[in-house]
Symmetry: C2
Subunit: 187 residues, 2 copies
């Protein structure tokens, strides 16, 4: 990539989110995004396959981070401790992009096609986490169930964080949801 | 409805599932389903809005049953006990239709459009369960988290049941997954 590439990507992303927020995802074209960013459509397509990918390219990176964190957990960690570490790491990553995350969530909530895409990404995350747990020697159904629980915790903490205007500490909310789970399961 | 109506519905459903299994969901038309069932297309559309609904009409009934069971749980029941009762009831209902459930799952696994629909139905179930728990006075984030956990248990037990050729007792698998959750959360 040339030296301005990451800057173009960021500008395209900002322009896209602004337009999706103003006129809705469905009513925005790639040409309009490129124009708002002061770039060409060709440059847009060097960075993103389509206008939806602007909202979802980060999900792949998040999933990789989750899987690496589970793999890197100490050998002695229980399945839930292994995903707990991954949840805290994911929370820290998202916390750095709080404004983006809130803006993105508002756009997704307003469009059923995007909501469906988000559900698919979360299902894919659960499958990847279950695979990472099996790699650690966790048997089924514990591996699959732990992965689903991790995604449940992630969703609960994330939704709460966005609802509160991203003012709270997301890694802390992740830990809180995990503790809440223990209370619920013990009760 | 006329006296043969439930019978027509059953015949259409059987014909649809057989055809989806033979040639795939995408490659089956409503005309073919009606023909296989020995009925008219008009009769098909009296029962189902489209060919996808043949696979999903039961999800609404399942969701209603879940919500009623949560509402009907004893006042002293913890949130997890309330959903635990609902899971056992749902398991018993599905157990009666084991062959159908396995056949349906095979069709859904083969088609991404149907998988997306299934994810949406599960997200809708989680939202309905969270609502039913709030009605019982359960606060957030516990209500939302318990609902997500219930769906995680449901998916885990159901997938296992289908993978094992529906030979196992589904309500028993639901209870087992719930116990597994407690072990995982305690560990």
């Amino acid at each position: 990539m040339g030296r301005w590439e990451p800057e173009s990507r960021r500008r395209l992303e900002e322009a896209a989110l602004a337009l999706y927020g103003e006129r809705g995802f469905e009513n925005t074209t790639v040409a309009e995004i490129a124009e708002r960013a002061g770039l060409t459509e060709r440059t847009f397509f060097r960075h993103f396959t389509d206008k939806r990918e602007v909202l979802f390219w980060g999900a792949g990176a998040l999933q990789e981070m989750f899987v690496s964190a589970v793999a890197a957990a100490p050998e002695s960690a229980t399945p839930l401790e292994a995903v707990g570490g991954a949840l805290a790491a994911a929370g820290a990553l998202l916390q750095q992009r709080g404004d983006y995350a809130r803006q993105r969530q508002g756009i997704i909530s307003a469009c059923s096609e995007l909501q469906e895409r988000e559900l698919i990404k979360l299902a894919s995350l659960a499958a990847a986490l279950a695979g990472a747990l099996r790699q650690r020697g966790v048997k089924d159904p514990a591996a699959g169930l732990t992965a689903e629980i991790a995604v449940a915790i992630f969703k609960t903490a994330f939704d709460r964080w966005v609802a509160e205007g991203n003012q709270m500490d997301l890694p802390g909310l992740m830990r809180e949801s995990l503790e809440e789970l223990k209370v619920l399961a013990g009760g």
